[in-house]
Symmetry: C3
Subunit: 342 residues, 3 copies
Amino acid sequence: MNTKQIAEMLDGVLAGNPDTEIRRFAEIQHAAGDEITFISNPAYTKYFETTNAGAVIVSQNFKPPSKRQDITLIKVEDPYMCFVTMLEFFSKDSHPIEKGISDRCVIGKDAVIGKDVHIGDFTVIGKDCLVGDSSVIMDNVTIGDGVVIGKNSVVNSSVVIYHGCRIGDNVIIHSGTVIGSDGFGFARSKEGKYRKIPQTGIVVIEDDVEIGSNCCIDRATIGETKICRGAKLDNQIQIAHNVEIGEDTVIVSQAGIAGSTKIGKRCMIGGQAGIVGHLTICDDVIIGASVGVTKSIDKPGTYMGYRSKPFKDALKDEASVKEIPSIKERIKLIESIINKGK
Amino acid sequence: MNTKQIAEMLDGVLAGNPDTEIRRFAEIQHAAGDEITFISNPAYTKYFETTNAGAVIVSQNFKPPSKRQDITLIKVEDPYMCFVTMLEFFSKDSHPIEKGISDRCVIGKDAVIGKDVHIGDFTVIGKDCLVGDSSVIMDNVTIGDGVVIGKNSVVNSSVVIYHGCRIGDNVIIHSGTVIGSDGFGFARSKEGKYRKIPQTGIVVIEDDVEIGSNCCIDRATIGETKICRGAKLDNQIQIAHNVEIGEDTVIVSQAGIAGSTKIGKRCMIGGQAGIVGHLTICDDVIIGASVGVTKSIDKPGTYMGYRSKPFKDALKDEASVKEIPSIKERIKLIESIINKGK
Amino acid sequence: MNTKQIAEMLDGVLAGNPDTEIRRFAEIQHAAGDEITFISNPAYTKYFETTNAGAVIVSQNFKPPSKRQDITLIKVEDPYMCFVTMLEFFSKDSHPIEKGISDRCVIGKDAVIGKDVHIGDFTVIGKDCLVGDSSVIMDNVTIGDGVVIGKNSVVNSSVVIYHGCRIGDNVIIHSGTVIGSDGFGFARSKEGKYRKIPQTGIVVIEDDVEIGSNCCIDRATIGETKICRGAKLDNQIQIAHNVEIGEDTVIVSQAGIAGSTKIGKRCMIGGQAGIVGHLTICDDVIIGASVGVTKSIDKPGTYMGYRSKPFKDALKDEASVKEIPSIKERIKLIESIINKGK
């Protein structure tokens, strides 16, 4: 594909050689003459002078820090989105899966497998399962009885989905993730012994959700634990029983959401954040990394610091602590003045 | 089962229709006429007026917020425990496992498998293992040589138990959990290179323990890492080498306990809490969520905040910080008075 | 092996019986007459009077707290390193693996398997893989197409390595760890919907690295996520896309490193620490447990507390907060004096 064709594909304006043949996408620092790269974050403009890339995608108002006659520019409205488009284009078919149902997998009684489905080696599909058309279930996966998986979804190796859970269309689940294991529920007797509360509900993962590796999403005590359409979860996230994660909400790795908490739409939960149980977080809330949330939030905005103070309060408290030594100095001075006056 | 029979089963007093047929347990907001629900937490009393439940389990002194002739009440001493009893009753046999030893599993030489055991597909049981009567080992599980598993225990899919570890009776281990991998031990040379310290011990899980998904319980360097009888661990918990968790202690998800720390009986460790190595935590200690514990604790009680201050101290420190701005105002006023007086 | 032979092996000086037969290494509290133990940390000297060990490895200047004619001392320069040597000696061959390639594994087309390799049951090796001589791949492992594994490495059960990743020589990877799953990258549209950014890179694990259980190391968006020679990672660690971990750096369990961050050589990252993305941490930095690092660090040293203050600053801030109540008392006194003077 040459630079002219790329400019057309991206709806961009070409400045330079329209005939440079481009074979790959690359980082600006490492790109070679048959590779294309991009500048979106101004911090990367400094690499413009030294890059060996054959072409660079830039914004319409990009000012080159130096003349580089040898580089072809493709000016576009949104270089970042065009970077994604290019990456998609060049990575398409880069790792094709030869689809088919392994003769070393086990498919339970009355399970229904759609068209064009892949089921890998040593994978177990339980009784009465449904797997929709074009879905891919990789190797060493365990899927319990009665699980429903939609169309065009990907379940990577070593995933476990317990019985009865429901997975939508276009869902991606990465390796080692466990969906539908028992929620953590015990009734404590007067003697301090624990009695297990049966976890009789399920997990529902709606369409277009992506879940990273080694996550845990527990089944509900009664009813459903629910990850709504379009939500994206990073690795090692803990979702407790009866939690609901709203549409298009993003959760960064190692965060944990305790039981029965409901999180709204389009929220962003930072890495290692913790949200206690039985809370309601409204739509469009941003929780900072490592923040502990102990109260419901009913106003959109950014919340930071221990116990999820609004961002400004967190900064103010931190600055306050820094002033204590100077406060002490001033008091000492006052005390000495008063003592002299006596 | 009708409401009269349920009242008898729960040792409760029936007020209303003794003949209502009940088929399921349900949440009060969603219950239908053939479903029973409960009110234990007063926050749920508000749903009493609108619930469609056929019967509601309530405490002996429950005062209905409104007359509902159509609802049958079952008055009991402890509605929460009765809720668990009902849930157990209705969930029993809801997901039976057809027991048997798969012909697609591998059982090592000299392994002894008890009566009425289930071993799933693609599961590997090592040499010289013992699996007690009525235990269930699901699919894609890997159990190393010489592992002992007691009676009536459940090892879910994709669990790995390394060689030599011992699991008791009535233990439940959820998917993705790894028991007995090497503790994190390296000796640092003067040049800053690391030499692995062999981890020669084992993990012992006593009776009645439940362990969630994707936990890690490391084998001891020498001796045993031990989870004592009745302890309950949530998901994604890290237990380092030579740790001991006391009887009936509960640990919430994503907490981590560093090497050689001993935790007493009936403790509760909050989610994402971290306890550093070589500490001793006495019986009946509650550690708040996300708390970092850096010193041994020898007094029962509740510990909160960064570095596990006792709860009251944590609240006091937090309140103190809030007062700094007003302290500054007062000093400024004093300084202006003194300056005027000069 | 008798005590005389051990003293020679450790290049130590024997004081006591040269003929005591030693069969095992043991902890000082539990050692028996045919077992050897060591004292390195003075906190364990108190056990000297009561231990039943046949021999104790001590430092050259060790002063016995009491006369124990029955105990043989072996005086050495570095008792801790000698403890490791002894543990290695006695644990060698304690758990031998009978090597071989299971007839229940799957090896993809054009994969090349070296000499003396072990491949366990229900393990899948993809197409075009290379597995170097003497490496051990345990059971239920899934290795994607084109993965390269060096010599003498160990991949434990239930590990997943996605396509194209490269693992060096003498690497140990513990169970449940996922290497090469997709980095967490999405482009947000103006409407708040997310579009997946293809993750086209790989993960490179260099020689002599050890990785604990249930870790996640994501593949790069473009290029490589890299764990450099000799680095040691504990359990449940999250390494995001395009991160680089320097040589001989140690990371304790449950820490998370966000995307594109570079960590230097010989660093120590505490448990549950979190490091945000796009930072550079220089060589020889120590980050305390649970610390959140939000800025690059360019000076070696120890960093503690929320937002990774240098250790001294963290202690100072903490002490400052404790002084607020006394500051308030002093101001109150001053105010009363001033008011009286009016």
